[in-house]
């Protein structure tokens, strides 16, 4: 609930993040990117453009606010964090970002240490709602004598407290709360710990880059590395750029903008063509539907998991290595779509545009790296449109390439992938029985895998998605989740054909 509220609002965290994306896009568009010293000067101005007040609004002082913006700018450029002047000035390494290839690193989601306010994790605390009542049921139900009383209120001795939460339910004034760090509460793979200053730190061995902590942190202390600067440089160099756009693009740019106008807008930026990733989803449905049948009915596997959400696949590999054979690993919709373009145009440079930060990590997989050159989010795309002063409502309503089926377009919502599989399997393998189990957060996905492992699950097709509601709830979206889901449903139903197998371009 709390998570939903923070996500549904345009907070100052979102505002600053988007301003950074707009300013870094302008940096490349309005300057000669080969003039590194000029770019360095301009980079130093960005924190002052964004934090342009005399007094601090959020932190101790404007200097700290600007230092944090400077770190965000580095991540937006694709660079590692600065983390202090001992290694050089804040512009260190900018030359390496000013090229037409992305900077490759597995560390995509990062905590900006200065921005982390060290909030307490896993703690039970008495709030000032406490009346220090005569009954004090809190201390009566406490099994470890953690309570004492000051003149005003009850206090919990944290060293004794075992977090049993009995006191929470006992207090008649609801004055006792359990507090988890918003970032670690949002993390489904327990990848967030603390450094020796008690600031949040991400364990990249465990992290699957889903980005949910980015959306959860009320201080904006977590951010993802971007590739949009390198995309813009590629466009400036007139490389043969092709955009592939994830099915959740519908409705992301305002209710009155049509899908055709979004595609025209992307072409106006300089992309030669735009292909829906829903086309690749049709390919995935058909190839992996066949594989599902082979593995369940031929090889005697009890259940098979879908492949398209990279955070879910990576979580399975990292947390349940024994089960990785149960997750499909053929080409995901993103890869299938990129391959479709590169088969036709071998020198094409493919940029995936989607809701997802985990796709940035998927694009680094050895089997993917040759197909997908860049990954940016809808948020990063919108920042480019705004930096170029492109108004989508004024774009042509040119014809949409009808590349995809309705079921492929529905991949973006929870349940959509499994339903597409089921429809395909029912048609081509009528003897098979498909039983679906689906989850749409990594915590719940892990629960589903535990059940599968223990044999208590009847399902034979597991759909895992890391974000709430599916891709529509990804960390890089613009539109509210419920709204996007409705729009996707409508768009899918209006498709020329619904089943993946009816897509004439799929063999």
């Amino acid at each position: 609930m709390n998570d939903f509220l923070v996500r549904g609002l345009y907070t100052d965290v979102v505002d600053i993040r988007r301003k950074v994306f707009i300013e870094t896009a302008k940096l490349i568009l309005n300057n000669d990117y080969k003039d590194v010293s000029k770019i360095k000067l301009e980079v130093l101005k960005i924190p002052f453009k964004i934090i342009n007040k005399e007094n601090a609004t959020y932190r101790c002082c404007v200097h700290k606010e600007r230092a944090i913006v400077a770190e965000r700018v580095r991540l937006a450029l694709g660079l590692p964090l600065w983390e202090g002047a001992l290694k050089g000035p804040v512009t260190t390494g900018i030359g390496t970002a000013l090229k037409h290839e992305k900077i490759r690193t597995e560390e995509i989601v990062k905590v900006i240490p200065e921005a982390c306010e060290k909030c307490e994790d896993n703690i039970i605390r008495v709030t000032d709602n406490c009346k220090k009542c005569l009954a004090h049921p809190c201390s009566l139900v406490c099994p470890v004598d953690a309570f004492s009383f000051t003149e005003e209120q009850a206090v919990i001795n944290q060293e004794n407290c075992i977090k049993c939460r009995r006191c929470l339910n006992a207090c008649p004034y609801n004055s006792i709360i359990y507090q988890k760090r918003p970032c670690s509460a949002a993390c489904g793979v327990k990848a967030i710990g603390s450094d020796n200053e008690n600031r949040a730190v991400i364990n990249h061995e465990k992290c699957v880059n889903c980005g949910m902590c980015i959306t959860a942190c009320p201080f904006g202390a977590i951010a993802a590395k971007s590739e949009s600067v390198q995309v813009l440089i590629s466009l400036k160099e007139k490389r043969p750029m092709y955009a592939i756009i994830a099915p959740s693009f519908i409705g992301q740019f305002g209710p009155l903008v049509t899908q055709e106008q979004i595609i025209s807008g992307i072409k106006k930026i300089g992309f030669r063509d735009v292909v829906e990733v829903a086309y690749g989803a049709d390919f995935t449905t058909v190839t992996e539907g066949k594989l599902w049948y082979k593995k369940i009915y031929g090889q005697g596997k009890k259940y098979i998991g879908t492949s398209c959400c990279p955070a879910w696949v990576d979580m399975t590999k990292k947390m349940f290595p024994k089960l990785s054979g149960n997750i499909l690993d053929s080409h995901t919709p993103m890869v299938a779509t990129a391959k479709y373009i590169k088969d036709k145009t071998p020198d094409a440079v493919v940029c995936f545009i989607g809701p997802c930060t985990a796709k940035k990590s998927e694009s680094l997989r050895p089997e993917v790296i040759e197909y997908v050159d860049f990954v940016i989010t809808f948020e990063e795309l919108a920042a480019i449109l705004i930096a170029m002063d492109i108004e989508l409502a004024e774009m042509d309503k040119t014809e949409l390439h009808a590349h995809a089926s309705g079921s492929g377009r529905n991949y973006a919502v929870s349940g959509g992938v499994a339903n597409a599989f089921k429809e395909y399997i029912n048609k081509f393998y009528p003897d098979a029985e498909v039983i679906i189990e689906k989850r749409d957060s990594l915590k719940e996905c892990a629960g589903m895998l535990r059940q599968a492992e223990s044999g208590s699950l009847r399902a034979n097709l597991l759909e895992g998605m890391a974000c709430p509601g599916g891709c529509a709830g990804g960390a890089g979206v613009l539109a509210p989740i419920k709204y996007t889901s409705k729009k996707i449903d409508k768009f899918a139903k209006e498709s020329e054909y619904y089943p993946a197998a009816e897509n004439p371009e799929i063999d």
Binding site: G8, Y10, R18, G254, P255, L256, G265, E391, L478
Partner: protein
């Protein structure tokens, strides 16, 4: 019924109007008292960094935020 025009042009949508729109559409307190209208780029009113733009009755709010919008609606409904 108080008319609330929300610009959903690319600038305004990106800078917070999608969230303001969603909030007003879901808000149960102003329900039946306001009429939310989605507009496409109202004569570039947002130029010079004034996005997002919301018009409540006949009053324009520049650099609109949810608190500004709710406050003005509350005032106009008095």
């Amino acid at each position: 019924m108080l008319k609330v025009n929300i610009c959903s042009g690319t600038q305004c949508a990106f800078k917070g109007n999608l969230e303001i729109l969603e909030y007003l559409q879901e808000d149960s307190i102003f329900k039946n008292k306001i009429k939310v209208v989605i507009k496409n780029c109202m004569d570039k009113a947002c130029r010079d960094d004034k996005a997002p733009v919301v018009i409540i009755g006949d009053e324009k709010i520049f650099n609109a935020t949810l608190d500004k919008v709710l406050k003005l609606i509350e005032e106009k409904l008095k």
